[in-house]
Symmetry: C2
Subunit: 344 residues, 2 copies
């Protein structure tokens, strides 16, 4: 059987990331200068679905590295309620692989008309989102055939990392390691997760991360729902430990993703708490101590904690793919999904 | 058997809301003027757990009524990563019933030191959060004995409604109806949901809302997890329809909450899609057409779409209580929870 589009696109990511780092460098420097000239007071990020998870990653980058408060737009404020809050000195970033989502286009168009500097991150630089923006950062990763977004999601993460780095004027050199780290993570996932299933169709899954790995937990849970048709929910480790963990029962599949750094202690506490409740726990980390807290472990390496989000994601994609294939699901035909989200 | 603290506190809400409207009026006007004098460029909201859901409600109010962009703080930016983005012309609102959560205190303290106008909404005006803020809006609803927050959550919603109304200089008169509407919703829930259970212990639940009812969906799902020990997840209708619904199987319990207004069409589409997938659907709404789309329906009334969040919440609390009692669970002893969230 030919591999699925999803598998092919997961495997294409190391080469894609490598090209994106090289190709985007001059444009990203120029975009960074354009943003700095406008001295935005804050940032709004507008996105849906997987791109919304990329936007949360962008929020962490902007707030910890560029010192800019970032707000995730509630698209319905603009689309359903028809309001535009005062964004005259804001940077508004719209993120959409297709560039078609009407409510994201409406949010970015409205923000630009209200005086914000509007920037589009999209895989289609001719799409309505790009036309609605002042500035465009194209992903340029070619058509995505898989309905479940994989390569466009990691491209969005890397584009945001490069863009915020340019705004914060930090050294972009660590990005040159991300392709190799992603390739190594994929190889490690193939070794650790061959033929792997999280359980039968009714096994619920929880995915936990903190800080830069929190949006990755949300994204992996979405993939497990879409492709694996599995009841899966992503959590911040902090929120999971102090409330939601009450409903984690023995036999739940739990995934804990994160790296050495300031979040490590809480990730270890989370993995231990999940195992204590009888959850089968899969740990994805560069930290051997954290990995030892899992029933199954996948090692990843990364140049920085923020860049680790990309190899962590790829392991989650591979896990999702294996979990679907092991149960005879076709990863290219997730039930009830269409490629372009046309929410209005 | 004596009623649980949870039941007693759910039932106390109409009288509590009535008192809060009266008692808070002069202070809220003064706080509104203090905020307007500072002319904040944007707002950050810092909260966790149920209070974080109140904060999302506050974001919708601020953006649609006061024209102020509102950003939900990622507490780990301040606590774990030790960064403070540039908030010198921001209004920073910390929300915590106990006023004790260290990371929320750290976020508000850090924002005030960085030049923001810091405002605390808390049920304990002597708590660290109140001491860290420039301004305090006390809930004054007395001790909450139930571990699962009920009356402090609806008090936070009403406090935010009154505060944002004062900032936006809108007529506060509709708030005088909220106690009666809440009492009526509670009576309707008692009639419709006597002895009700969402299913057996393994039945998953999804809760969907849009706009002002989106944070209520998140809150009801959290209650079902904490008190009902049930796998439950809250969604924006938009996100559910365009991705997550893939994992909704026949037999899932689905709750759709919302009112007549600009979100109604998407709520109807959502209820129909959930029933088409075989989910048993409970609808909570003032709209008869939407209620007709449910297997079970609870009518609510409200003066405005934004104030409807309070009666919608109370129906969700009652449903959670019934669902727990029907399975012999003690709502006052949810497993593994403590009252004060001490995340650092």
């Amino acid at each position: 059987m030919a591999p699925s589009w999803m598998e092919a696109e997961i495997r294409s990511q190391p080469a894609m990331l490598s090209r994106l780092v090289e190709d985007a460098a001059p444009l990203v420097r120029e975009l960074g200068r354009a943003v700095l000239r406008r001295r935005p007071r804050f940032v709004i990020l507008a996105a849906r679905g997987s791109s919304d998870h990329a936007a949360i990653y962008g929020k962490y980058l902007l707030e910890t590295q560029a010192g800019l408060v970032a707000s995730l737009a509630a698209p319905s404020v603009y689309s359903v309620y028809g309001r535009s809050p005062d964004v005259r000195d804001a940077l508004a970033i719209g993120i959409s692989q297709s560039g078609q989502s009407p409510d994201i286009v409406a949010a970015i168009d409205g923000a630009r008309r209200a005086g914000a500097l509007a920037l589009a991150i999209t895989n289609d630089e001719t799409a309505p989102l790009a036309r609605a923006a002042d500035l465009v950062l194209p992903l340029g990763v070619g058509p995505e055939r898989s309905i479940a977004a994989t390569k466009t999601f990691t491209a969005e993460l890397l584009a945001l990392w490069l863009l915020v780095g340019a705004i914060a004027e930090v050294d972009p050199a660590p990005a040159h390691r991300v392709a190799a780290d992603t390739e190594a993570a994929l190889a490690a996932a193939e070794r650790a997760l061959a033929g792997f299933a999280l359980g039968d169709a009714s096994t619920p899954a929880v995915v936990a991360g903190r800080g830069f790995s929190f949006p990755i937990a949300l994204e992996v849970a979405l993939k497990l729902r879409e492709v694996g048709v599995r009841n899966a929910q992503g959590f911040s480790v902090a929120d999971l430990l102090h409330g939601h963990i009450a409903a984690v029962r023995a036999g739940t599949a739990a995934i804990v993703a994160g790296t050495a750094g300031p979040t490590l202690a809480s990730l270890r506490e989370c993995a231990a708490a999940l195992r204590a409740r009888g959850a089968r726990t899969i740990v994805v980390s560069d930290d051997a101590g954290l990995r030892a807290a899992g029933d199954v472990a996948v090692p990843v390496e990364a140049a920085t904690e923020s860049l680790a989000a990309i190899p962590l994601t790829v392991v989650g994609q591979w896990l999702t793919l294996q979990d679907a294939l092991a149960r005879g699901l076709d990863p290219d035909r997730p039930p009830g999904l269409t490629k372009i989200v046309r929410t209005v």
